[in-house]
Symmetry: C2
Subunit: 338 residues, 2 copies
């Protein structure tokens, strides 16, 4: 490219747009992106008559942070939303909104991360769109990813499937992503091992559904609003009470320390590579063991259980033996975390 | 809603996010939106093993303009991208990026337009996402819509299908959308009949494919970059020469006049309710008649033909008899037109 920043003309649909697409976007995404100059991608040979469809826009600030950037976040996040419905992610779309003046080198790094994340998860980027807004009307880059998934089973996985007796599992430590972004944003000198947990969870979900099938009742990734808000949503959707054991919640020391200093509660901090699994109590130990066999589940833990049919309370037995009600996040604890 | 503007907390994923979703977004889109609190929408009973998938982000400025707003534009645009591949639009996702301070009344108007546009086209909004960015880091509202379409036929419609001899048809006047947005943006006092042409074209496409099947070789909507850029793309994709007749190009007098004053060429101005049809010459008159029978095709015209296999030239026979080469739009003639 002859210019080293994004210009308004890159969003015109004309020559500069084609140049950006042909010289940067397509080649950088090319190992997974199909070259398709038509208005839609066409996917052939779909063998499922049930599809999952999801969308998410990513506006994280800063766009680069410890352990990742907005690009892999956008790919992993949408893959995970598909996986949480029990679907196998099949194809992803990428909608870029670029701010005039964005460094092309930054865009290139982001696109490379997207390609790597898609490859790692075995998902194909099939279609896209690029818009440019003037300086001061955006913030470097916003990314929308939408995704289509297919089902290779007849299971119904959703937030309303929690049943009394279910055990609640999580695949690892909480709050890592939110604290990593906050540290990068504020330039905080936090412990060095705080990095985003952003990772695709479709492999783990596929493992669990293949091995345990109907014993898996709910899958949900606790992103914005954290574990607390997500559990509250599930409790309300399923009409059950959930009781957590605070001492079982896996939290990295560095994250716990940073949260304490900043007055944040890791229960409300966003994760991007975590999932909550509600499972039949008779299979809980086996599911936990299966989760721990995968690298993204090494620190998996059983954190609570579903107590009874009710109006959707979430309670936490604290480390010192008290009982605390968990509500949804109020306010904007950490804006632009994803 | 107790507040009348968008706050950062509306994007937190917590209580305010749920309130915005439950009290404004879902009820306003409700006639077409399925209430789905899970991470993905699940679509059942898909009978096609071939799918179309597309995405577009809308950053038009201003968000309200003569004849429409960013909401119906975002719905119609994605429906049209699906239709241009020959697919029947099935489901749409909506990703909102809101700027802190956006008036809730403006958001409500936009969402209502989205519902109406989806209803009019017979398409369902099935999933969505809402993010909020701080004041000065966005511009009121950006909308991504992605869409899934299915095929009820075995036809292959794409930009590489143009053949020597094909007639080139368009369903009406060119440049209306771009000039309507420009007039609203600049506060120009243009002729009163300049309004966006934004409309869903899936009904017309379905009619044409049902009636004329394999005689339809290319469908493409000339949005950003206008008719000129779109024809140049098709010429390059198909490896053909295209020759246009300037005097056959339908242009509203008011649009032509405004373009002349502003030094713009309507051939390069965006449209949002137009399609170019490349058709077997033996069926061209019948296709033209069928297009004219629909309200969105009243001013349909035969504007040119494909001349020979070549490297992709587009030529225009001018009104005074000259021959002019048409290239893609250069620069950013009209930024943020969609």
């Amino acid at each position: 490219m002859s210019n080293d920043i994004i210009l308004l003309g890159h969003g015109s649909g004309g020559k500069l747009s084609h140049q950006l697409l042909d010289e940067l976007i397509i080649p950088t995404l090319s190992r997974v992106a199909q070259r398709d100059q038509n208005d839609s991608a066409v996917l052939e040979g779909i063998e499922s008559n049930r599809l999952a469809f999801t969308t998410d826009s990513y506006v994280v600030d800063p766009i680069f942070f410890s352990g990742g950037n907005i690009g892999d976040l956008a790919i992993n996040g949408t893959i995970n939303d598909l996986a949480m419905s029990g679907a196998c992610p099949l194809a992803i779309s990428v909608g870029l909104i670029l701010e005039e003046g964005l460094l092309l080198d930054d865009l290139r790094r982001i696109l490379e991360s997207m390609r790597q994340a898609a490859e790692a998860a075995g998902v194909v980027i099939v279609t896209g769109d690029t818009k440019v807004v003037p300086r001061g009307k955006g913030d470097k880059v916003f990314i929308n990813t939408s995704g289509i998934g297919v089902f290779d089973h007849g299971l119904r996985i959703g937030g309303s499937g929690a049943r009394p007796g279910d055990k609640v599992l999580i695949n690892g430590t909480i709050g890592d992503h939110g604290m990593a972004v906050l540290a990068s944003r504020e330039g905080l000198e936090l412990e060095s091992d705080i990095a985003t947990d952003s990772v695709a969870l479709n492999g783990m979900v596929s493992d669990l559904l293949n091995q345990f099938g109907e014993a898996i009742h709910v899958l949900r990734d606790p992103t914005r609003g954290g574990v607390a808000t997500t559990l509250k949503e599930i409790a309300l959707q399923s009409g059950v009470d959930i009781c957590l054991q605070e001492k079982e919640l896996p939290v990295k020391e560095a994250v716990a320390g940073a949260c304490a200093i900043l007055g944040l509660d890791p229960m409300f901090v966003a994760n991007e590579g975590k999932l909550l699994v509600f499972v039949d109590p008779h299979r809980a130990d086996d599911v936990l063991a299966a989760m721990r066999r995968r690298p993204e589940g090494e620190r998996a833990a059983l954190i609570g259980e579903v107590e009874a049919t009710s109006t959707g309370r979430v309670m936490m037995r604290t480390a010192i033996g008290g009982l605390r009600a968990i509500e949804m996040l109020t306010g904007e604890q950490l804006p632009r975390i994803c």
